[in-house]
Every structure is written in C-alpha cells, then in structure tokens.
C-alpha cells in the first residue's frame, strides 16, 4: 500500500495533519504528524503534501540493523533517519521524526481529504 499525492488538488486545509496526529498521539498537533502540507500562503504557489513514499529501497535505514518491514509499521522514528531521506519526507519535531505507518493499512488522512489530493494506491 502506498499513498499517492496529486499536489494540484491540495487545498492546504491541514486536516490530514490534524487527523494523523490525533489518530497516533491522541492530541491534535500538526507538528506531530507524518504528513505535512508545505505551503507558502503569501504567494500563489501550489501546496504540497509531503509524506513517506514507502520506498522499496529504504535509503533512510542504511547502516542500521533495523528491519525495514518492522520499522515501516512504526510511527515515531529517530530523527537521524530524517536526514537520510532523499525526499525530505520524514518530518522532525523535537528529537523525533514522524513516519507514515499507513495507520495499519487504513490511512486516516485519506479519509479526510475531500479533494483527493492524497489517495491510496
């Protein structure tokens, strides 16, 4: 399973961030979500949802003993892995990185995206 992004459809509502943080952490806090909406709201540029691409070859893990499949199911990662992600898709807050665990195969963010800017493939 993979979440795909159609950036042209993103309205920048942040609902995906809010749902992600609430589902995983029990509180609403966009800083603690694995999906982020990158937007510059002082220009008319497009918004960009960013989240883990579920790469087959996980460049975020080299040098670690961790097994990819097991790590994929974890939401909170060490922030050192974020630096290795070539897509900048592991958001960091404090000393933690937030990784998209696909909500046990039921991504909550997709449910709340009324424009289908994010969808499951």
């Amino acid at each position: 399973m993979k979440i795909t992004v159609d950036r042209k459809r993103c309205s920048g509502c942040h609902l995906c961030e809010l749902v992600c943080s609430l589902f995983h952490g029990g509180s609403v806090n966009p800083e603690k979500s694995a999906i982020r909406i990158k937007k510059d709201d002082l220009t008319t540029s497009m918004n960009m949802p960013i989240l883990c691409r579920q790469c087959k070859e996980m460049k975020c893990l080299p040098g670690e003993k961790a097994e990819g499949e097991r790590e994929k199911k974890k939401f909170i990662w060490d922030k050192s892995r974020a630096e290795r992600c070539p897509f900048g898709a592991l958001p960091v807050f404090g000393n933690k990185a937030y990784h998209c665990d696909l909500c046990q195969e039921k991504p909550q963010c997709v449910k709340v995206c009324t424009t289908q800017a994010i969808s499951v493939r």
């Binding site: 309205s11 509502c13 609902l15 749902v19 609430l22 509180s27 609403v28 966009p30 497009m46 009324t114």
Partner: protein, 619 residues
C-alpha cells in the same frame, strides 16, 4: 484541552502583560470567540467611549473549537467601532486563529496605546512587544513577508494592518495571509490607533481532546455527510461568486447604490464562470473540508500580474456591480488594492457608490470630489481607493465613512444606504424579506452575515421549514410570514457558531442539513468534556445576542434604528426581475414585533428584565 487556553491582557500604555486562565463558568456562559469577546467588551462599553481612545479594548478571540479538528477555525475581532460609533465585530478565517490557539491562547485583549509603532509576538505561551518602525507604511502583504523573514519562520501567522489602518481610515481591516480579513466595522483603524502594526503568532503545543477515540470517528462521519451536500460541493468548486448569478437573476443586487437591483443579461461578466478563467486552484481555511477560496492570477492586459485569493462575491459586488462596474479584471484589481492597503472591500465600495450617486444628483460636485465621479469609471475607482488609503484629497473625506456627510451636507443623508451608521453591502433587500429584517436588526450595523437567513431562497416545503424553525415560515422569499422567526433563529445559531469558530458556510445557512446545535453539542462534549446540550447552547446564543443588544441600548439604539434605508420603503425597485418590490412599513413592523418577542425583548428592542434574569445577564 481547548479549555486550557489562556487569555492575555496587553496594556500598551503601561507596557504590562497579564495572562489569565479562562474560568470554566465563563466558557459555559459564552463558549469563546465572539461570545467571550462580547463579555470582555461589555465591561468597558459606554456611550462616551471614543473608539480611538486608548481605553477602547481591541479583542482577538478564537472560537472554542478553533485549532481542533473542526469545521473551519475562525477568530472574532471586537471593539467599539470607529466606523459606526457602535458595536464593532469582525470575523476572520484563514490560519491565524488556529495558530494563536496552538500557542496556548484563546483571547488577546489589547488596551492602551503605544507611543511608537509596535508588533506583538506570541510564541508558545510567550508574549513580547517589539519595535515596528521598519514596518511602518508597508502594505499588508509586505508586512507579513518582512515579519516572517525577521522571525525566521515561514509558519508564523500574522494579523496586520496596512496604510489604511495606520492612517485611521474608519473602515480599515485587519488582514492575515493573502485574503483573510476581519473587514467590517473598522477594527484595523482601532489597531492603528493603538500603534500596533501586527500580531505574529506561532504555536507548537498539543491540543488535547477530552475523548479523542470517539472524537475522530464522529468528526469523520459528520464531515463526510456535510462535504457531500450540494451546497458544499458547489461552494468548493466556485466559491462565493456562485451567489452572484443567483442574486442577479432574483434582482437582489445593489446596482449604482441600490438605484437598480440587477444587470440582467450582462451579469455573466461578473459571474463565477467568468472568474474561473483566472482561477489556478481552490484553497481552504485551516481545518475546513469545503475549500471555497479561489486562488487567481491575471496573466495579461492592463492588470497583468495581479494575483491573490478570492475574490469573494461580497467584494465583487461592492467594487463591481454596486459601482456600475462590470469589468471583472478591474474589480479584481480594486479588491486586491483594498486587501493590500487593509481596507474593507464592502465599505470601500459602498462609500464610493454613495459619493457617485451624490455626484450624479448634483449634491456634491468637483469642488469636493476634484474629479468627475462617473458610474463604472475604472480609473476613478482605483484612484479613489489609493486616495482613501493614504487619506489624500477627496479620499480623506471618504476615509471618514458615514461621517463624511458632515462635508457632503444634510441632503447626502438619504443616499447613504446605511443601518446604525454601517453601510449596506453588495445587495438590495427589498425583495427577500428575511434578508431585509436581518440587515435591519444586525447588532454590528448593516450585515448580511449576522443572521443570513436564506433558506427560503431554496423553496423547500413549508413543513421542512416549520420543523427547522419551530413555527410557520413561508417558503416564498418575498413573503413576510414567519421571517421574524427565521431571523431570530439564525441570529441565535450564528452567535453560537461564531463562538465555536465554526464557519457560517458549514452550518445551517443555505442548507437545512448542515451543522447545528446537535452536532455542536457533541463536538464540544468530545473535545472539552463540557456537557452543553443543544438547548443550553441555544440559550448561550440568546445570551450573546442579548448582551450585544444591551451595549447598543446604552448607545441609545432603539426600535427606530432597527430599520432600513428610506429607499427600501419609499422607492419600489424600478426595473428588472424584482421590479415593484419594496418593504411595507406595516409588514416590517409586524416582522420586527415577532423578532423582538422571540428574543424576549420589549417593543423598543430592549431585553426584558425576565429575559436578562433567565440568561443571567445584568443591564
């Protein structure tokens, strides 16, 4: 929890900041947002309070559910209005309210006056006042860009004023982002009078919910049914401009300062479909599933390079059709000018329309205006906007808003389409009677959003309306029957949604199936743990309306002020689809009686003693 958020009292004269918790008892009485703002304002409100005095508090208030996973995340800004001289209150979408909440604050009360220009930084429980000399004179977009750069954080949300607010233009707005504005009632001028250029907020705190496990599925189910309604779908595609064609077809637009009410088959020029050519996508406010804001760019022609968000129907109507201007690109440019300068688009268009009619009738001439004021003259419109913002020449007179009649003379009075000293907007209400009454009774002066009772436009079966409103309401928008009830019902509901920070468009507004008390009650309980039944919430709405009325009564506002411009009663619409429509004084009085009775106010519109007792209010 949303209940943990604090209230900050910033006294600029004394340079003191006090942070206090918000008592749960106050939340239970007024929720947040507009409700608590009114409670705070009422403690200072006197008839002699000069809106530009340091004693006039400027109050920012996020709704109780703002910042949560909710339906919009709105913020109310409240003070005594320098435009009307009465109650000032304006409501803003975008991201600012949510960021304030994430920083740990629900309300900010600014009093006093700084000797020098300052901006206020609010970051995770910390508040700091900083020098704003380098921001002076900058427009609202430049101000925000500079501040983000200075604070080295592109997630900082800013509410600021432009030159119009600095120059104390009486209808200056407070603006955030590309478009979000607390536009009506001159809150930007109050901010300017305090020498505050901007509030910059950034928050990273958790918002803990009382019952997160139940909140999420309830939210998702509610959101799904709401987002699927025809109204939400249409709004998400076209935004508010979709209302223009409907208003034009019905004959409820203001054309040339309400001398006419439709532009007939020329309406296509300002319609939503015309705007689509410039749209590059749709945007949403923080936590809103509907995304009703266009993002646009004009790529060629005289206004090449003009870009922004919106424009909204209210702005297109006010700076377009109201001025006899059907050039969409010009009105988009004029709107963007207002946004940049920090001017309310609705008031700006309305005062220019007033001046144009005075010029047309020879009540004012070029000795005053310094130029011909011809309907639809594009250059005049944009030039006058520049002049107003900088208080130059004729603009300096119009910058006084309704008080410009001191210069224009007594004969100008009848052509100022105003209610309680606040100008009527882009519409004409002679045909739709619920709109007409709602305008007349709105607590902040002429305002289509205070009640916005518009469901009768849909022509739904009257049984449906009776069930919704608890009494008979005609489904004919031109009928007076039950419209007092309709306006009362919507005023009360909207006072609640404004206090929760939920957007008007997502509540019972133009769809009877949208959110109202039942959903509000459930969301509040799951988010905060407060058990506020639909019945209790309705009583809170009544309390807020009554408190606003008490302040107006102090100003001497009475039944004769809850009325409409003379033209609405005395001049039937001369042409177009609503030809012949007017307001009968007798029928209007009956509607008003009904409305007062349902609110528990006496024949003069003063809340009765037993009403105040029931609502726990003092006079």
């Amino acid at each position: 929890m949303p209940l943990d958020r604090k209230i900050a009292f910033i006294n600029l004269t004394a340079e003191k900041i006090k942070v206090k918790p918000i008592p749960v008892a106050l939340r239970k009485k007024f929720l947040g947002g507009r409700g608590i703002n009114m409670h705070l304002l009422s403690r200072h409100y006197t008839p002699s309070l000069d809106p530009f005095s340091p004693d006039n508090p400027l109050i920012f208030g996020a709704g109780l559910l703002t910042g949560c996973l909710s339906f919009g995340s709105r913020l109310s800004i409240t003070a005594k209005s320098p435009e009307s001289g009465h109650l000032g209150d304006s409501n803003m979408g975008g991201d600012f309210g949510a960021e304030l909440v994430k920083a740990g604050f629900s309300h900010v009360v600014i009093s006093g006056k700084s000797p020098n220009p300052v901006y206020i930084v609010i970051q995770d429980n910390q508040i700091e006042i900083r020098d704003a000399k380098k921001l002076t004179g900058l427009d609202t977009l430049e101000t925000q860009k500079k501040l983000r750069s200075a604070l080295k954080d592109d997630k900082v949300q800013i509410a600021c004023i432009g030159p119009a607010g600095e120059n104390l233009v009486r209808f200056a707005a407070i603006r955030s982002g590309m478009k979000s504005s607390a536009g009506r009632t001159g809150m930007g001028a109050v901010m300017g009078s305090k020498n505050v250029k901007a509030l910059a907020v950034r928050g990273t705190r958790d918002i803990k919910l009382s019952d997160p496990k139940k909140y999420l599925p309830y939210y998702l189910a509610t959101m799904k049914s709401l987002a699927g309604t025809k109204w939400a779908q249409a709004l998400g595609k076209y935004g508010t401009p979709l209302l223009f064609s409907r208003a034009n077809a019905l004959g409820i637009l203001s054309i040339r300062n309400n001398q006419s009410t439709s532009v007939g088959d020329q309406g296509y020029r300002l319609a939503a479909e015309a705007l689509e050519l410039y749209s590059t996508g749709m945007l949403a406010c923080f936590s809103c599933p509907v995304h009703c804001r266009h993002r646009f760019v004009i790529e060629k022609g005289q206004y090449q390079g003009t870009r922004g968000e919106g424009p909204e129907y209210g702005s297109i109507g006010s700076l377009g059709s109201k001025l006899g201007n059907l050039d969409l690109e010009n009105s988009m440019y004029a709107i963007e000018l207002c946004n940049r300068y920090g001017l309310d688009t609705i008031s700006t268009g309305s005062y220019i329309a007033w001046a144009m009619e005075l010029y047309q009738r020879g009540i004012i001439d070029q000795k005053v205006t310094k130029r011909p004021l011809v309907w639809g003259d594009r250059e005049t419109i944009t030039d006058v906007i520049h002049q107003i913002a900088h208080r130059k020449g004729f603009g300096n007179i119009l910058a006084e808003g309704p008080f410009a009649q001191k210069v224009f003379g007594a004969a100008s009075r009848d052509y100022l389409m105003e209610i309680k000293n606040s100008p009527i907007e882009m519409t004409d209400e002679r045909l739709p009677k619920s709109f007409a009454l709602g305008m007349a009774t709105a607590s902040r002066g002429a305002c289509h959003m205070r009640s916005r009772a518009s469901i009768d436009v849909l022509g739904l079966p009257e049984e449906v309306l009776k069930k919704l409103y608890g009494g008979p309401v005609s489904n004919d928008l031109a009928s007076y029957t039950g419209k007092g009830r309709m306006v009362w019902w919507h005023e009360v509901l909207n006072a609640v949604s404004d206090s929760l920070g939920i957007c008007r468009f997502l509540t019972v507004f133009s769809s009877p199936h949208a959110l109202q008390y039942r959903e509000f009650s459930r969301l509040i309980t799951l988010a905060t743990g407060l058990d506020l039944s639909p019945k209790v919430l309705k009583q809170i709405g009544e309390r807020i309306c009554a408190l606003e009325k008490i302040m107006l009564v102090k100003d001497g506002i009475s039944r004769e002020h809850d009325t409409l411009p003379k033209r609405y009663f005395d001049e039937p619409i001369p042409e177009g689809p609503a030809r012949g429509a007017f307001i009968s004084r007798n029928e209007f009085d009956h509607m008003l009686d009904d409305y007062y009775r349902l609110h528990g106010w006496n024949k003069n519109g003063v809340p009765k003693k037993n009403t105040l007792k029931r609502l726990g209010l003092k006079t």
